[in-house]
Symmetry: C2
Subunit: 180 residues, 2 copies
């Protein structure tokens, strides 16, 4: 609270006057941050784009969102550690359209467009590939680029294409000859 008050150029008492408690302040900030993400996912799942396009634009939007809000993942993970129930309630109530995603995955398989894969795993894989480098930034930046910030930013940007390629490449059906 002290650091937030300093940053805002006011004092702690005023912060409590506005937000009543640390808990309340937290909820407000968290909801705002998180709903960006939920909106992103759900709009996409409902859209009329092809499955490939959906995956591409999800990855693009999501990595851009993460680059613009680099503290969000740490924030969410802290919440996972301290109060997973509240977080889960929050996510569930926003209702991420997971069932819809799983259906779309199995449809694509039946159409022969992708190999067989469990939608749950694919969902986890996509999120993991996008989020992890943001979480691990301080370490990866050090290991890969001797702490050069702009080199790491470039890495994150090339990563957008790389993750798309990685996912699509992995989803190719096992036998490609049908198409030739």
């Amino acid at each position: 609270m002290q650091e937030i008050a300093d940053e805002a150029g006011i004092n702690k008492a005023l912060l409590h006057y506005y937000f009543r408690s640390k808990e309340k302040l937290f909820e407000i900030v968290f909801q705002e941050a998180f709903s960006k993400f939920a909106r992103n996912v759900n709009e996409l799942l409902r859209s009329e784009a092809s499955f490939d396009q959906k995956i591409d634009s999800f990855i693009e939007n999501y990595i851009t969102l993460l680059i613009d809000n680099p503290y969000l993942p740490g924030f969410v993970i802290g919440e996972i550690g301290s109060n997973p129930e509240r977080l889960l309630d929050f996510i569930s109530s926003r209702g991420i359209l997971l069932d819809s995603f799983q259906e779309q995955v199995s449809e694509e398989y039946q159409k022969g467009n992708i190999r067989k894969i469990d939608g749950k795993h694919l969902f986890v894989n996509i999120i993991a590939l996008c989020v992890f480098p943001i979480i691990g930034r301080p370490i990866l930046k050090g290991l890969f680029f001797s702490n050069d910030n702009s080199a790491f930013d470039t890495f994150l940007l090339t990563r957008q294409e790389e993750v798309k390629r990685f996912i699509h490449s992995s989803l190719r059906p096992d036998i490609q000859n049908d198409d030739l």
Copy 2:
């Protein structure tokens, strides 16, 4: 410190008697936890196995390690948030053989065994796919399996095969017909 003392059935004073400070205690615990991981990576990179086998056994060992030590990732991420320099020093001094990995990746590409891919991205991808479900456990467990623990444990086990498949499938060279 209070919680640790309670868990150990002693009191805070004795904890300080043994470990001098919270900082010292932390370092000891962290080193022990982390070196399990570093050993794992480095032994593997040095081994004589094929590239495919190395990836497979890394994924297998790593996910097993994470299932057995589910608090490790949260521990490391907390440290990333609070003291990334110390963590980076620690990792660098242990010397994960990143250069060796990158060389092996480009060799495999030149041999035509895999598609072109930046070793850094591949490294990040593999770790991400293994670690993320452990970090996100409380949320994923709720979203996917209505908080059924054993269902989620099964998910993590099937994930070992799934991640291997995902990686290998994604690394297949773009044109497969050469082999036929």
